[in-house]
């Protein structure tokens, strides 16, 4: 199918983009990489009157250190998550997740900010912002604000973004020497949506876990932290017994929805398997 007719405006600045949206009302959409929005338009799942192209706004570009954070501009493309040295050094969990995001040609267009704004519960990056305790910087008609990833993902495809607001950057706390991370997902074929996926970031003193954040995707309506499992691990070292306890805790953390393809019990089982593998890798100090 073809998209319904719309008008197109290419914004040069954030203010121009916000202003265009304010004038058009709720019938406008921002477009960046468009790798999810264009198919939605082509299938007429969405039919805005106005598309505001934000890809030429320089303020939304670039990756740089900013205090204790890495500031990742919203327009950073998925392929740059693989090629940008600052990402590999200071946000290695994102670097590890990037090859799993869709296919190479999609990664050449899709943007980090767009992935977070869409908040697909089966996507890698939204879940990783939870594991990283990242903050999302938002520009809107009433100014700029920062929202913790923990408060950003509200419901299925629903976020803290209000109509007319725009993600400008994502702030990720810099990776430290006493931290370890792990990421993996289970999918039938590479590039397919994961049956279950998981990423984690832990802070160690010797072998003891001082803090750990574990986030799953493809397990419910939003990306999800598993706080019960996290609590069983904090303050302990990673032995087989403790890993088993964390796996058991998932039953209280996750309630996968019933789907035609995968029964909830199977998804929960796969989540346990994946958690066990990743904790095993943390243990080895990967």
């Amino acid at each position: 199918m073809k998209a319904r007719a719309f008008s197109y405006f290419r914004a040069a600045t954030i203010d121009q983009a916000l202003d265009a949206h304010a004038r058009a009302g709720e019938d406008a959409r921002f477009i960046a990489g468009g790798q999810s929005l264009v198919p939605a338009l082509s299938l007429r799942l969405q039919a805005p009157r106005l598309l505001i192209d934000i890809t030429h706004i320089d303020e939304l570009r670039g990756v740089r250190r900013d205090g204790g954070y890495l500031r990742i501009g919203a327009l950073t493309r998925h392929c740059e998550m693989l090629s940008e040295p600052l990402i590999a050094e200071f946000a290695p969990l994102l670097h590890a997740a990037a090859p799993f995001v869709a296919h190479p040609a999609i990664r050449n267009r899709g943007t980090f900010g767009g992935s977070i704004a869409l908040a697909d519960p089966a996507s890698e990056f939204p879940a990783m912002t939870l594991a990283l305790d990242a903050e999302i910087e938002i520009a809107g008609p009433s100014g700029s604000r920062r929202v913790k990833a923990d408060d950003f993902f509200v419901e299925l495809f629903e976020t803290a973004l209000q109509p007319g607001e725009l993600i400008t950057a994502i702030y990720v706390p810099l990776f430290k020497a006493d931290q370890r991370f792990a990421f993996d997902e289970l999918a039938r074929r590479r590039g397919d949506y994961a049956l279950v996926g998981c990423g984690m970031l832990a802070t160690f003193t010797g072998d003891r876990i001082d803090d750990i954040r574990i986030s799953f995707f493809s397990v419910g309506n939003t990306p999800m932290r598993v706080k019960g499992a996290e609590l069983t691990l904090i303050g302990s070292s990673l032995d087989a017994e403790r890993i088993a306890a964390a796996q058991a805790a998932l039953e209280g953390d996750l309630a996968p929805p019933d789907s035609d393809e995968i029964p909830p019990a199977m998804r929960l089982h796969l989540a346990r398997v994946l958690l066990g593998r990743l904790l095993g890798r943390l243990c080895e100090g990967e």
């Binding site: 007719a5 197109y8 790798q35 264009v38 198919p39 082509s42 040609a105 050449n108």
Partner: protein
């Protein structure tokens, strides 16, 4: 889903003038904002080597190079490409940069109906320009977004692997 739009906005039927460099030539054309790049290439510019398959980014038959990187031309509107450099399968063929890949696809029967072939070649070209010696696993991974409904994947992977070897063993293949 209704096939009739009762609420078309007044100004949305207007066309926009876009300019880009297609296969090394400056091109300008009038497009409606809702026209995808693949439709513009095929209909306005009559470059029909780029194929429109699923039109939702799943099959890979519409891949072109946008500013040197492989992208789905069904996943962007032509207006978004204003000012960009686009290379289609026709341009890559003319310039000879994929001649060895094409010869190897031909030699190994890495195509049957050929519908997926332009996308496969654009993707293979991108892979080999980034990774000199990809493993078969790398090649399969890179092609994961390209469907071949004739299911000729084995020969396609063979052909790309052979060209990678030949290129790294000194200059051209075949």
């Amino acid at each position: 889903m209704s096939g009739f739009d009762e609420t078309l906005p007044d100004d949305a039927d207007e066309t926009v003038r876009v300019r880009f460099i297609v296969n090394g030539r400056k091109v300008a054309c009038e497009v409606a904002p809702r026209e995808t790049l693949v439709d513009c290439l095929r209909n306005a510019l009559e470059l029909t080597g780029t194929h429109a398959g699923c039109e939702m980014g799943a099959c890979g038959s519409c891949l072109v190079q946008l500013d040197g990187r492989a992208v789905h031309s069904c996943l962007m509107f032509a207006v978004q490409a204003d000012g960009a450099r686009i290379d289609t399968i026709e341009g890559l063929t003319e310039s000879g940069v994929i001649a060895d890949l094409q010869a190897e696809f031909h030699r190994r029967n890495a195509l049957q109906c050929g519908f997926c072939t332009p996308g496969m070649l654009v993707n293979a070209h991108e892979l080999l320009s980034q990774v000199a010696q990809p493993s078969r696993e790398d090649i399969r991974d890179a092609l994961s977004g390209n469907y071949c409904r004739c299911t000729g994947y084995e020969a396609i992977v063979d052909a790309i692997e052979a060209v990678a070897k030949a290129r790294s063993e000194g200059g051209g293949a075949s």
